[in-house]
């Protein structure tokens, strides 16, 4: 066998430049031929993605090194591959070790606040532990629970867990507020000054400390995923009952619902179409202006209209021109200003056909006169019928409107409503809610009043608003983060902020009378404040405003009241900072 190198006249294969050592060991030294002696072609640069790799440089070294992670308390040592000579401060994945904080209580706390007839302490302990381990995955918690303890529905477990957490948080908030009150009072006694801001803040803290826990502002504890508001068991049960009912529907019920839905859709499209055309829907329940747009003509107009229409087409005898009686048998004119609609003429023909009136008659004068009269009467009748339908619609709409306004007035005679009779003399507006009205108007006036001094004394209120936040942050270790930005921003934002509680107050006071018996709490302090101002709700912020502070400073109360709330929450969850 001849070597290819010999054929080509090459003595030996060219040597790689610079390095005479073969780059790869010869796999089979007994093989002969140039293939084994050819240089291995090593490219100078290799691109991988955006990186350029120089294959002549030695690769970076990796080592199989032991490591431990800060996420493990026991310092387990395992090995993994890392770059040699690189210091890792911590295991990089340790930052993903995030867990819920446990909801914890002492035995004394449990005995004081958390005892329940349905739940023993060991069961509660188990529940808290499971909630932490399974991180509030309630289906899983429920599953494990049923394996251990007597089965309960999942909403009961949720209720117990969130109630315990809320009660603890409420007590702790009250406790913190009480401490702060004491501290502030001590400061006030020391300085002996009549600083209104200090008084204000003390009052806010006192009211938070003494108010019924259920009226505390919402505070969430992110570490445990709980808040100080109690789980709504009744709502949850109802929701589940609905779900169950939905599940247990029969096929027929489902089909019925589907049919109803389709029907509703059709009605809605119809309504939309009508609305697009405008006209009568707007007119029926709309304003006087829109009613004027499409007036319903008086009954006499119909007769005139028909006469005119008939007159325009009926030929008049002209001397010298032949006059045919049968020319009078043509249909009345349609369209135009005085004309009647084609549809109406068609309906008239249908009506006549129904009554067996022949469409063609022998055109004598008598027959044509009769024919004319019949047609005229039919048209008039149809026009009047249309008017009656329109007026009935208007009547229905007005009745609806009346009912909506809550009126129990005697219905006036139909003629008045239909606009046939001359309009009656204007009467006073119906009074619906006589007893609630003064309160509502008073409350409605409140935002305006409250807003006025702030917007007027824009420059003066700025430092005034800043002060409580500043003192709040000095009294506690952590800064009151929500209070500070409100104070430092321009007056417009203060306005925006103050509007909100005022609006809320208005809403509250509107439904105050029914809510009042329920809102009377056991706590004596709150009860007394409520008694002095029975129209207001027992919300901490609002009671304070109305009882102890003048209206001009009232708007600044919410940030000050929020300050202790924020600090307590932060102190409860220091880990997540």
């Amino acid at each position: 066998m001849t070597d290819i190198a010999e054929i080509l006249g090459v003595k030996s294969a060219p040597q790689p430049i610079g390095n005479n050592k073969p780059l790869l060991p010869k796999p089979h030294s007994d093989l002969t031929g140039s293939a084994t002696e050819l240089p291995t072609t090593v490219p100078t640069f290799v691109r991988i993605g955006n990186r350029q790799i120089n294959p002549h440089k030695p690769a970076r070294k990796w080592t199989w090194a032991p490591f431990s992670s800060s996420s493990r308390p026991d310092g387990l040592l395992l090995n993994h591959w890392v770059r040699a000579n690189v210091e890792y401060p911590d295991y990089p994945y340790a930052r993903f070790d995030i867990h819920l904080d446990p909801v914890q209580y002492t035995i004394e706390e449990y005995k004081a606040w958390l005892t329940s007839e349905d739940w023993s302490q060991s069961e509660t302990d188990t529940l808290m532990e499971y909630a932490r381990i399974f991180e509030l995955r309630w289906p899983v918690i429920h599953d494990r629970w049923c394996a251990v303890c007597p089965p309960r529905p999942v909403e009961d477990l949720q209720h117990r867990f969130y109630t315990v957490a809320a009660k603890l948080l409420q007590r702790r908030v009250s406790h913190e507020a009480a401490l702060e009150t004491k501290a502030l009072e001590a400061v006030a006694a020391d300085s002996n000054a009549e600083d209104p801001k200090l008084l204000l803040e003390t009052a806010a803290a006192r009211s938070l400390a003494s108010s019924d826990p259920q009226h505390q502002p919402l505070m969430q504890h992110l570490g445990t995923g709980t808040s100080n508001k109690v789980f709504d068991l009744a709502y949850e049960k109802e929701r589940r009952a609905h779900w169950e009912a939905l599940w247990n529907r029969t096929k027929e019920e489902e089909a019925e619902e589907l049919a109803l839905r389709n029907e509703l859709k059709q009605v809605e499209t119809q309504l939309r179409k009508l609305k697009k055309r405008g006209a009568h829907v707007v007119a029926a329940n709309g304003t006087a202006a829109s009613r004027a747009a499409t007036p319903i003509p008086a009954p006499e107009v119909a007769v005139q209209q028909v006469d005119q229409a008939m007159a325009t087409t009926a030929p008049t005898p002209v001397p010298g021109v032949p006059y045919l009686q049968s020319a009078r048998l043509v249909l009345p004119a349609t369209g135009g200003e005085t004309g009647i609609s084609k549809a109406l003429v068609a309906r008239m023909e249908a009506l006549l056909a129904e009554m067996n009136v022949p469409s063609t008659v022998i055109a004598t004068k008598r027959a044509c006169d009769l024919m004319d009269t019949v047609r005229r009467d039919a048209l008039t009748w149809l026009l009047l019928e249309k008017q009656v339908i329109q007026r009935e619609g208007v009547l229905r709409a007005r009745r609806l409107k009346l009912a909506k306004m809550g009126g129990n007035i005697r219905v006036v005679d139909e003629e008045t409503l239909l606009g046939i009779a001359p309009p009656p003399a204007p009467r006073p507006k119906p009074v619906t809610k006589a007893p609630a009205a003064p309160a509502a108007t008073a409350a409605a006036a409140a935002p305006g009043k409250a807003k006025a001094p702030v917007s007027k004394t824009a420059t003066g209120s700025k430092p005034a608003a800043k002060k409580p936040a500043a003192t709040a942050s000095s009294s506690s270790t952590t800064a009151a983060s929500t209070g500070a930005p409100t104070a430092s921003t321009a007056t417009s934002s203060i306005d925006a902020k103050t509007k909100k509680p005022a609006a809320k107050r208005k809403r509250k006071s509107e439904d105050a009378p029914p809510a009042l018996p329920n809102a009377a709490p056991s706590s004596g302090d709150v009860a007394s404040t409520i008694n002095t101002k029975p129209k207001k709700k027992a919300k901490p912020g609002t009671t304070k405003e109305t009882s102890s502070v003048s209206t001009s400073v009232a708007p600044k109360a919410p940030p000050a009241a929020a300050a202790p709330a924020v600090t307590t929450q932060k102190e409860n969850s220091p880990k997540k900072e």
């Binding site: 026991d74 387990l76 994945y93 070790d97 289906p139 599953d143």
Partner: protein
């Protein structure tokens, strides 16, 4: 280090001991390095304790003891009890075969496939059944920590890992295994125990059916044969059996259990390499052609398509004959379970007080639910530990498992076809979960590798499940997730491989120190 891309190789080993096969390999690999049958031949000590003396991993074709051909005393042994599907020996009161075999299997796997890696150096992820009892998990952890001396361990449920293997955290998982079929709802990485459904018809039952058919076919070909098809060792030429001196020996006799195992192996071969079991997708059973299968003695059997479809139908079908067959298997399983429970109750009666106190310590109710307290006393010395765990563990184990076996008997066992099992499992969970659970259905396990095409079983199952749930909720769609045929049988191992190589899994391992501090009960808390 591929920072935060997800994986961090810490040299973890993932192992699953199933009823049919054992898979051991490195976490992060895409296939187990070591894959061998769990059914092994063992030689027991002659005395009363019947402790295992020797283990042979490959006994189907070769003589077990190649030098002496003294096979007569060997018998098969499986670490998994076929009735309960757990690593549990209801019969033995002294040694625990399952845990002895676990040790042997690990040594075998590490030495043959993992480059002689040392067990003491690598964290170990063990895969268990999702219906495993807390006591068995504790015992497994104890075995790993004290006898194998692993640095860190974790015990994960196979259903959860199958979910991970398909890239989901919430799904209903169908596992068609060897000893039975299990359906487990998995919600956000946690198996829901109340939804577990289990049927005793698995691949083993399928193989038995095939074996019966093969025997019947064989009888038509060889009317003289009265004991059915003969495995390889019976038809091997006599001259192969020669002793070291060159003298030929008589054909060795083997125990019935070994004989049966070898015949079952033939049925498996017929299913996997020969005729194959298939789903009847075209409903033309009698027109599909028969397939031939050659037995070791040279007989060629034509397996008709009816037989092939019947095998697959055993798990999936609704026909009266299959339903009856399934009921039969269920009754067998039930009666076996009842026997086990009765036996452990009988054991309960002749207890002495000392044992009882120890039982309260280890397999207590509190320990079982993962709410155990810190271990108060100092850990015992190595010798004491071995004594206590070995001598009394099995009785305690039986006692601790009884409650769970009763649940299995009363609640989880069923004979309904697979599609109804899936729906039933999902309907047992919370209403709010059901749409998510039925939306994703994961199919895995060796029994799902049926023909005739790759998508035959998933498609068939999805149609059936949808037709069932659409009676209630017409809008729901079912997505059936399953890997390719080559990965279905090792799906749970793949999930374990993914989990074990995750960087942030590091905090989940149970370390040796934690075990010392909290006792074996920590497994029920850290591996929920």
């Amino acid at each position: 280090m591929a920072a935060f891309a997800g994986g961090d190789d810490i040299g973890a080993v993932v192992a699953e001991i199933g009823h049919y096969s054992t898979k051991i390999g490195w976490a992060g690999d895409d296939a187990p390095r070591s894959y061998f049958p769990s059914n092994v031949a063992v030689l027991r000590q002659g005395d009363k304790s019947r402790r295992i003396q020797g283990v042979c991993h490959d006994f189907y074709t070769h003589p077990i003891q190649r030098k002496t051909f003294d096979d007569g005393n060997w018998e098969t042994c499986n670490p998994i009890d076929p009735t309960s599907g757990l690593m549990y020996d209801p019969d033995s009161t002294q040694g625990a075969d399952g845990f002895d075999l676990l040790r042997d299997f690990l040594h075998h796997g590490y030495s043959t496939a993992l480059q002689q890696a040392k067990i003491e150096e690598h964290p170990f992820l063990m895969i268990e059944r999702s219906y495993n009892t807390p006591a068995i998990r504790q015992q497994t952890l104890e075995c790993l920590m004290e006898e194998m001396n692993v640095p860190a361990a974790f015990i994960a449920k196979d259903a959860v890992l199958m979910c991970y293997g398909c890239g989901r955290t919430t799904a209903t998982v169908i596992d068609i295994g060897h000893s039975g079929t299990t359906v487990t709802p998995v919600f956000e990485g946690f198996a829901e125990t109340k939804g577990i459904r289990r049927s005793p018809t698995g691949v083993h039952a399928m193989d038995r059916l095939i074996l019966e058919r093969l025997d019947a076919l064989y009888k038509t070909k060889q009317p003289a044969a009265h004991d059915g098809i003969r495995p390889l060792y019976q038809v091997r030429p006599v001259q192969q059996y020669v002793d070291p001196e060159g003298q030929s020996l008589p054909r060795p006799q083997r125990r019935p259990s070994i004989h049966f195992a070898a015949r079952m192996e033939l049925a498996r071969e017929c299913r996997e390499f020969g005729a194959g079991a298939a789903v009847n997708i075209t409903d033309t059973a009698f027109h599909a052609p028969s397939k031939s299968f050659t037995l070791p003695d040279g007989t060629v059997l034509d397996v008709p398509s009816v037989d092939r479809f019947a095998a697959a139908d055993l798990m999936l079908g609704y026909s009266p004959a299959t339903v009856e067959l399934r009921e039969m298997h269920l009754e067998d399983c039930r009666s076996n379970l009842k026997k086990i429970i009765e036996k452990s109750q009988y054991d309960d009666n002749d207890d002495d007080e000392e044992e009882k106190s120890e039982k309260d310590d280890k397999f207590s109710e509190e320990a079982a639910v993962g709410l155990s307290k810190r271990r108060s006393k100092q850990p015992a010395t190595q010798k004491q530990k071995q004594l206590s765990s070995r001598l009394f563990s099995n009785r305690q184990l039986n006692r601790a498992c009884t409650k769970h076996l009763q649940t299995l008997l009363d609640d989880q066992l069923t004979a309904s076809p697979l599609a109804s099992m899936v729906c039933d499992a999902a309907y047992r969970c919370d209403r709010e979960q059901q749409a998510a659970l039925l939306g994703n259905v994961v199919l895995g396990g060796g029994g799902s590798c049926l023909g005739p095409t790759e998508q035959a079983v998933p498609d068939y199952l999805r149609d059936q499940i949808e037709s069932l749930i659409h009676a209630h909720t017409p809008g729901w769609r079912v997505r059936l997730l399953t890997p390719s045929l080559s990965e279905r049988a090792i799906l749970s191992w793949l999930g374990g491989s993914i989990l074990g190589s995750l960087g942030n899994f590091h905090e989940m391992w149970i370390s040796k120190q934690e075990y010392e501090e909290w006792g074996s009960a920590i497994v029920n808390r850290k591996c929920p």
